[in-house]
């Protein structure tokens, strides 16, 4: 037996356990190969900060990737970081902070929502969900920042796509495909992610305004202006109190627009924007760098929904449809706020049942948007379709799923029945 073979046989796994906590890629490969041979489904978990998102499904074995972590290679001057997929986002952000860099896509931290405190999860989970924060309309989604990955497919084969350079069109862009696939295509082992310098200054223009229609109007104008905003939200009256900051004493509804960049240009653009929007001094406040960062961090963390008891839906629409959709949704008992400059609605429904859910889905679909059920009651979850899909795309999805995971052992049924 060669040295290598000896080492491999030592990692031989005890398949009687129900939760595997691998620390090496070789172990993951062995687990998957065994599951493939024995037709055993696997639930794939990072740090479980978003495990409640998606459909419930039965699986005998769980793959816990929380020990599969670490930064492999960080090259600040080349603007990328390469990490193991189980690495907590927190660790990555701390490392980037040292070089004044950031993940520009500002991933949501769902920890506040579910448990009242921060749990931003693992990078594998962030990529698998592809939920981007407030800069979405300017910098793209999580998937736009994935330069390459290594993963294990459903046969236990190690595959890769992309690399560490930004410009790369060699072969199919599988980094896109695995983003937002909720762990149903591959087990991600390594991710190379684009990082960017933090802006020198961030300032936020807060407009005191409780009206949705006016807010959408402000946001539309701001996003179409040459002042190049990097965030735009609207919080109705009932959330105003959540944002009492030194420079923001107003506690009613508010529209906020973020401007980032070199300090003197930020000041110039903030002034310009307030003029372009025709705002009077008493209608607005301006948050300085520190307060601006707090404001957007609370937004990204969904802190207005801290320890939420009721149901939370994430609704994405073309901006032109947002007003009409919210007006229609107001006939239900909802609380909401609008992000992404008007195209993302986070909506809490006090009561939700299968009938209401199906009606809401119809409304949103009619307006060319879609819904993701982030948090709903367990009974409803058992019966509801978490993701919607038409029959043609279902067929294509099924084929793609098979091409990665022919025996459907990864998170089977997490996204769709049969996939």
């Amino acid at each position: 037996m060669s040295m290598e073979e000896k080492q491999n046989s030592q990692t031989s796994l005890d398949f009687n356990q129900n939760i595997f906590k691998p620390t090496s890629r070789e172990e993951i490969v062995e687990i998957v190969k065994t599951c493939y041979r024995k037709n055993i489904p696997l639930e794939i978990n990072g740090l479980k900060s978003k495990s409640k998102i998606g459909r419930n499904f039965q699986s005998e074995k769980t793959l816990d990737l929380s020990d599969f972590k670490g930064i492999i290679d960080y090259k600040p001057e080349e603007l990328y970081i390469k990490v193991k997929a189980g690495t907590p986002l927190k660790e990555i952000i701390e490392e980037l902070d040292k070089n004044n860099q950031q993940l520009a896509f500002e991933p949501n931290d769902f920890g506040y929502l579910f448990s009242g405190e921060s749990n931003s999860g693992s990078i594998g989970g962030v990529v698998s969900c592809n939920f981007a924060g407030s800069r979405r309309f300017k910098v793209g989604s999580v998937r736009d920042h994935i330069l390459g990955f290594q993963g294990i497919n459903g046969k236990g084969e190690t595959i890769k796509s992309g690399g560490t350079v930004v410009k790369n069109v060699t072969g199919y862009d599988l980094s896109k495909l695995i983003s937002g696939s909720f762990g149903t295509l591959t087990i991600l082992t390594e991710l190379s992610i684009k990082v960017l310098p933090k802006p020198e200054t961030s300032k936020t223009l807060i407009i005191k305004n409780p009206h949705l229609k006016k807010a959408l109007d402000f946001l539309g104008k701001a996003l179409s202006s040459s002042t190049d905003p990097s965030g735009g939200v609207f919080y109705p009256d009932y959330f105003g109190k959540d944002f009492v900051l030194n420079d923001l004493t107003h506690d009613g509804g508010l529209t906020a627009v973020r401007i980032e960049g070199p300090t003197n240009s930020v000041d110039q653009r903030v002034n310009r924007l307030s003029k372009e929007l025709g705002l009077l001094d008493q209608e607005l406040s301006i948050l300085d760098n520190e307060q601006s960062n707090i404001f957007w961090s609370r937004t990204k963390n969904l802190e207005v929904f801290k320890k939420l008891e009721s149901n939370l839906l994430r609704i994405v629409l073309p901006i032109s449809e947002t007003l009409q959709v919210i007006q229609k949704l107001k006939s239900y008992d909802i609380k909401y706020f609008v992000d992404w400059g008007g195209s993302l609605i986070w909506a809490v429904f006090e009561t939700l049942n299968a009938k209401i859910l199906s009606d809401i889905k119809d409304i949103v679909k009619k307006h060319q948007g879609y819904i993701t059920l982030i948090k709903i009651e367990d009974d409803l979850k058992a019966s509801a379709d978490i993701f919607t899909i038409d029959p043609i795309k279902y067929k294509i999805s099924e084929k793609i799923k098979r091409s990665f995971d022919p025996k459907r052992i990864f998170n089977p049924g997490k996204m769709y029945t049969g996939i």
Binding site: K75, E77, E78, N130, F137, G140, S141, R143, D144, E157, I159, S161, G163, T164, V165, V166, K167, N168, V169, T170, G171, Y172, D173, L174, S175, K176, L177, S179, G180, S181, L185, P197, P199, E200, G220, L223, S224, S226, T227, D228, G261, P262, N264, S265, Q268, R272, L317, P318, I319, S320, S343, Q368, T372, F387, K393, K395, I396, K399, I400, S403
Partner: protein, 498 residues
């Protein structure tokens, strides 16, 4: 054709040419089916003109239903189909096969909707890249990705190649500016991926299709996002006494947190050639020349220009000019944009390579290229999207001289292998096509390629859509490097072709 092997010609199909033409004339307007050699000739090559092949037939559908019916027919009758946009591709992606129906998308040439409220344009795929900007510029908007071929290349081709341009550094390539597409699969299925709402749920098929080089589906409609034109744009023209200094300057500008709209480097050979060609006022004595452009509001641009000036001086810049007017800025670019025709003056033919490398490896890779240039005894001039590490060496050769073409191919392959070796990629924006097909094994192992082929087969089980492109024809090439074919015989005739 040089040393490249294409998929085996299906003689049964060849012999049924008339019948197929007749059937296709039953599906679409008969004058949109071309079959005689004079009509087919214009389609025999794309921008990679060293390789030519006449197709069996050309079809020019006018509606998505026609595309669907043609594909369905071809799928049922096992006829190969090659989609074609404007034919400016530089990797042979739309080069026909002898037994294929070439699907020319030229009649899909209308913009369907301009939607300022959602800041997007819905268009047919054969509208040119620049036409989109032209359609929205009077309202102060533009479409950001700007391949040098933008007056000619089609937006559908851009999607198929995931094309980039000078401004991709700040604004991303096609994939980052795309909201949705309508696609027809090989079996005739019509579907839409994405739309005006961002990040459609479910698998990211939009991302998968983008850059798939016409192998997975025919794109029949495209929705792109448009941006507000920046208020101020300024460029600096900087000369350096060495490539190392230029490379270090680029790395430092990026590391300092300035993201220019574009940052280009040309070596001495190209600086001279383009300056002669377009009288751009370049510092022709410099070993390397950089054009760096910033856009935004006045203060923002000024702040970045000042920072750049400092960094350039620190890195021994030998000359530095900042554009004082828009005309002067465009003059700076005139030379760079004429890189191709300028090389056309220097040699009968040139081949444009397209490797991608880590920014820090610029000097190392350029030194290797000049070593190879001596080895192969072929001149080379280098343009470089320096900000994002995308290198465009232009190898000059004579396509009528077989030996010269062979040397050029080998030279190009050596450059790309070196790019991969230093941690880069085979192609940054031009695609793999036929040109870099056999080099895929430098970047990927058999399992990686097999995974990609499994996706291809899932959507096109008979491998009829644009076969012979992107993936090595002989899959076991991992140990082989580039595949050579002698006397038309391949080494492993029994290995399945994709």
């Amino acid at each position: 054709m040089s040393t490249l092997q294409m998929p085996k010609v299906d003689n049964a199909i060849m012999s049924k040419k008339d019948k197929i033409a007749l059937d296709l004339r039953g599906i679409i307007n008969s004058k949109n089916v071309l079959s005689n050699p004079d009509e087919l000739r214009p389609f025999e090559t794309d921008g990679l003109t060293a390789y030519r092949q006449m197709p069996l037939l050309v079809v020019m559908p006018e509606t998505v239903e026609e595309v669907s019916q043609i594909l369905k027919y071809c799928n049922e009758n096992k006829v190969k189909v090659v989609p074609r946009g404007a034919g400016t591709g530089l990797s042979g992606g739309s080069m026909p096969l002898e037994d294929c129906v070439l699907m020319a998308m030229g009649k899909f040439n209308k913009i369907i909707e301009i939607d300022y409220e959602n800041r997007c344009v819905v268009t047919q795929p054969c509208v040119t890249n620049l036409a989109i900007t032209h359609a929205v510029q009077d309202k102060g908007f533009y479409y950001a990705p700007d391949p040098s071929s933008q007056i000619a290349c089609s937006i559908g081709g851009n999607v198929a190649e995931n094309s980039g341009g000078v401004h991709s550094l700040k604004y991303g390539a096609t994939t980052n500016n795309l909201l949705g597409i309508e696609v027809v699969l090989m079996d005739g299925t019509i579907t839409k991926f994405g739309g005006k709402a961002m990040d459609a749920e479910g698998y990211d098929f939009l991302g998968l299709m983008t850059g798939s080089e016409g192998l997975l589906g025919v794109i029949t409609e495209v929705t792109v996002k448009i941006l507000k034109s920046p208020e101020v744009v300024k460029a600096a023209l900087v000369g350096f006494p060495s490539i190392e200094d230029a490379g270090n300057c680029v790395a430092e500008i990026i590391a300092e947190g300035c993201i220019p709209a574009g940052m280009e480097i040309m070596d001495k050979a190209l600086t001279k050639a383009t300056n002669d060609y377009s009288k751009a006022g370049y510092p022709t004595d410099a070993e390397a020349m950089m054009i760096v452009e910033f856009d935004g509001t006045e203060h923002e641009v000024e702040a970045y220009i000042q920072k750049t000036k400092k960094i350039a001086e620190k890195n021994n810049s030998s000359s530095l000019k900042i554009s004082k007017s828009n005309e002067e800025r465009l003059k700076f670019w005139a030379g760079r944009k004429a890189a191709f025709p300028a090389c056309g003056v220097l040699a009968p033919d040139y081949m444009c390579m397209d490797g991608s490398i880590p920014r820090g490896k610029l000097a190392e890779v350029l030194n290797e290229i000049s070593r190879l240039s001596k080895k192969y005894n072929l001149p080379v001039a280098n343009a470089f999207h320096a900000g994002d590490g995308n290198l465009h060496p232009l190898i000059m050769f004579d396509a009528n001289d077989k030996e010269s073409l062979r040397k050029c191919e080998e030279f190009g392959a050596d450059i790309l292998k070196y790019c991969v070796k230093v941690g880069g990629a085979l192609t940054g924006e031009h695609g793999v096509g036929i040109e870099k097909r056999e080099l895929m094994c430098e970047a990927f192992n058999d399992k990686d390629i097999q995974q990609q082929l499994t996706i291809k087969v899932a959507l096109d089980p008979n491998s009829l859509l644009n076969p012979g492109k992107v993936y090595p024809i002989l899959r076991k090439c991992a140990e082989e490097g580039r595949v050579h074919v002698h006397g038309g015989k391949t080494k492993f005739p029994d290995i399945p072709r994709f």
